[in-house]
């Protein structure tokens, strides 16, 4: 996108905001006005709350919103994955029902993919959906479901045919989380938080119009969700923004919304390693003068900067109109390396105090939380090993390993004894 286009978009959105931003409105009233204008999601199609503009304008619009202090559409949590998936595969009815409410913040979402027996091998899902009396009846269990305890709707991958090969027997549904057949139980993590859950289905009901894509084509739909998840890495951090400092009822409303929606993600910045704290901590502890520590800090910053620029290159390519592709997997693997390296450097800087926790530890336990959270990054959203396989097989086009799990009816494939 050329500079001229960017500047004309900037002028247009600025004029619109100056005429329309109204902090006296309720949060929902303002967001609906924003959504109606198309500036809430400018890269979306005109038919669906957008302006058909290239993705690169999103940052221009965000800058203008920040400048004037306007509240943005809701972004936190899994709703971005839901909307991206529905835009690509949803029916008009689904788009009409869910897109606006995702942007307005009225609906929260969760991702019901992983199961006790299938995580890396998501296509091995055992949760089943059976059509009875024109409704889908869902039974089974999901696990590690982030935010399930706050979610109104779930993106569900379930098996609709046990006789088809594994990838062909899956379908993708939108599941209402507020129903008797859905039970959510929190799971405590090694860092003490409980942001993910077990989710049990006992004859949970999905109406037929909530099947996304075609029956038996759930894997292709899930792949779209995963591509967005892996390329998004930590877009979550963006939510909330500067809202903390702003005064007025609409900002209070937004803060209240974020307090709930962002609760499961409080530790996510720590999971990424908090490279932003490294220099400050090195100065505070005096370790900045230690030549050994300096070298390690320098290595970390080299890695972090290079990873950031790689992500920028990927985003710039996307802005030129390339569809999300497997190259997004480089960013996730790079982020794992950055996080691990940051945890190592934090340990080096903190020294004996890194044996402490809670209020006895530096920064009220924040450093401890980094050390205990970083291991999640190389597991969540597809493990490092799976990212490497994707990079090798899809980006580098190296031959796939011979497989014996997708050439036979799924019911005959060896699986975990659970």
């Amino acid at each position: 996108m050329s500079e001229i286009d960017r500047e004309s978009v900037r002028a247009e959105v600025r004029a619109w905001l100056e005429a329309n931003w109204d902090p006296t409105l309720s949060l929902i009233a303002w967001r609906n006005r924003l959504i109606d204008s198309g500036w809430g999601a400018p890269s979306w199609p005109k038919a669906w709350h957008g302006r058909d503009l290239p993705a690169a304008v999103e940052s221009v619009v965000a800058e203008e919103m920040r400048r004037i202090g306007a509240v943005s559409v809701a972004r936190s949590g899994v709703r971005g994955l839901a909307t991206a998936t529905l835009l690509a595969h949803g029916s008009d009815l689904q788009k009409a029902k869910f897109l606006r409410r995702a942007l307005s913040g009225e609906d929260n979402w969760c991702q019901l993919f992983s199961e006790p027996g299938s995580g890396s091998d998501l296509a091995g899902a055992l949760s089943r959906a059976d059509l009875k009396d024109d409704r889908w009846i869902v039974n089974g269990q999901k696990v590690w479901t982030t935010s399930a305890h706050h979610a109104d709707w779930g993106l569900l991958l379930a098996r609709t045919d046990f006789d088809a090969p594994k990838h062909e027997g899956l379908s993708y549904f939108i599941l209402d989380m507020h129903q008797a057949g859905v039970e959510v139980r929190p799971l405590k993590q090694m860092n003490g938080h409980a942001s993910f859950n077990q989710v049990f289905f006992t004859d949970a009901v999905v109406p037929p119009e909530h099947l996304v894509g075609r029956l038996g084509e759930g894997w292709a739909v899930a792949t779209t969700t995963l591509m967005h998840e892996r390329r998004g890495a930590d877009g979550l951090a963006a939510a909330g923004g500067k809202a903390a400092e702003r005064q007025g009822p609409i900002h209070d409303e937004e803060r209240a919304e974020n307090a709930i929606a962002m609760e499961p993600y409080r530790w996510y910045p720590q999971r990424a390693g908090r490279v932003d704290l490294i220099l400050e901590r090195a100065k505070a502890t005096g370790k900045i003068a230690d030549p050994v520590v300096r070298q390690e800090i320098a290595k970390l910053l080299t890695l972090a900067k290079s990873a950031e620029w790689t992500a920028r290159r990927a985003r710039a390519a996307q802005a030129q109109g390339r569809a999300p592709g497997p190259e997004g997997s480089l960013g996730k693997l790079a982020a794992s390396h950055v996080a691990r390296s940051a945890a190592h450097v934090h340990t080096l800087i903190t020294g004996a105090d890194a044996m402490l926790a809670g209020e006895d530890a530096p920064m009220d336990g924040l450093i401890t939380e980094i050390l205990l959270s970083v291991p999640a990054g190389s597991i969540a959203g597809g493990t490092d090993e799976i990212q490497r396989n994707i990079i090798a097989e899809r980006v580098l086009r190296m031959p796939k390993e011979p497989r014996s799990d997708n050439d036979r009816p799924f019911r005959d494939v060896p699986r975990n004894q659970v």
């Binding site: 890396s120 993590q189 691990r340 530890a361 390993e401 014996s404 799990d405």
Partner: protein, 377 residues
């Protein structure tokens, strides 16, 4: 240097492993780590009544078993494996060794037998809130009160089991002295007037630490006034060798658990252990742990033989074991996938111990430096 265990030592290990499997399953570890003390008298008594473990390397004349650092290393490796919650490292490795190295015959005769019997829980208060592991980091002052008595003022931190110990061996310095000069060791009762003890919140709840504030605490000197630098350095060196052995025990246990899990877990229709990426990871883990283990054994052997290279070898082992333990713990979480990141999965308990032990007595960079200095580099 001893490169193989004797049949007796191997038998000793086997007995220990069975005992700890029975007495320290992770259910017991999880129960104790939630308590403020972090250990219980009953378990401690069993340890000593049945196996006499607290006196393993204490000479028989002081009521101990009279074994060497090799046997002590075996005990620690097995305890690290079982993640035993007990004040063993504090009492036997730190306090008893310090007393053995620094105290007079009469003091040893008085202080060591109750430790060897398991009646006295002891610890060494050496490090201060500055977190330094070199002698120059000691700021606590010992002011003479006459007739061999002293008054201690200052603060100690990261003291293993410091809030529950009956006897605390304290390193302090003559007012006005610096570096390795003017250092002495003292003994202080856990309930001495003027001593305030506070359990610290720690990343590894299976081994507690405390902060001790000394406000005019009366103390008895151990050994010779102003001559503690040598014995204290030796104690820390021997302790580093011991900790290395404890760490490789934990690392090996994790490595085995990761392998077991990989063999069990099926993804893509086959055990994840059948993926070459997983095999390579497991092979690298084995290599890393075995290298660390060899160094830890070498250090225990060097401590036993008073090897002139002991300081270098002990620090080499400590640095190697620290990195191997943390790295094995990370791999073990990774190999477990989502389950590995949960509170209920036991891997996290060893992960916490790995992080903490990697820093206790000094981090790998510090020990690599000590190793080079030990070799005169």
């Amino acid at each position: 240097m001893q490169f193989a265990f004797t049949p007796e030592q191997s038998e000793f290990r086997a007995v220990l492993r069975r005992f700890l499997a029975e007495h320290s399953p992770t259910s017991a570890v999880r129960k104790l780590m939630e308590t403020e003390a972090g250990w219980d008298r009953e378990g401690w008594r069993a340890l000593n009544a049945q196996l006499g473990l607290t006196g393993v390397h204490i000479p028989e004349e002081y009521g101990g078993q009279g074994f060497s650092f090799v046997e002590l290393g075996i005990v620690l490796e097995e305890m690290g494996r079982a993640l035993l919650c007990a004040p063993y490292f504090a009492t036997t490795v730190l306090a008893a060794t310090a007393i053995l190295n620094a105290a007079t015959e009469a003091e040893k005769g008085e202080l060591l037998p109750p430790i060897a019997l398991g009646d006295t829980i002891a610890t060494l208060a050496f490090t201060e809130p500055n977190g330094r592991w070199d002698l120059g980091g000691i700021g606590m002052t010992a002011t003479p009160l006459g007739s061999g008595r002293f008054q201690l003022d200052g603060e100690k931190s990261f003291v293993l089991d410091g809030h529950t110990a009956d006897l605390i061996v304290v390193a302090a310095r003559r007012p006005g002295s610096e570096g390795e000069e003017g250092l002495s060791l003292f003994s202080v009762a856990g309930n001495a007037p003027g001593l305030t003890r506070r359990a610290l919140k720690v990343i590894d709840p299976t081994r507690k630490q405390a902060r001790l504030t000394f406000d005019g605490v009366e103390a008895r000197m151990l050994g010779e006034e102003g001559a503690a630098a040598g014995p204290l350095t030796l104690t820390l060196t021997q302790a580093a060798a011991c900790l290395a052995n404890e760490m490789v025990g934990g690392a090996e246990r994790l490595r085995e658990s990761a392998l077991d899990y990989a063999n069990l877990r099926v993804q893509f229709g086959r055990p994840i252990a059948s993926f070459q990426a997983m095999k390579h990871k497991q092979a690298d883990m084995l290599l890393e742990v075995q290298l660390a283990m060899s160094a830890a054994y070498a250090a225990a052997s060097a401590a036993t033989e008073d090897d002139p290279e002991l300081t270098a070898i002990a620090s080499l082992a400590k640095a190697g074991a620290s990195e191997a333990y943390v790295s094995t713990a990370k791999h073990t979480i990774q190999i477990h996938g989502g389950i590995g990141f949960t509170w209920d999965n036991d891997t996290q308990l060893w992960f916490r111990r790995a992080v903490s032990s990697g820093l206790f007595l000094g981090d790998p960079a510090w020990h690599r430096e000590l190793m080079l200095r030990g070799w005169g580099v």
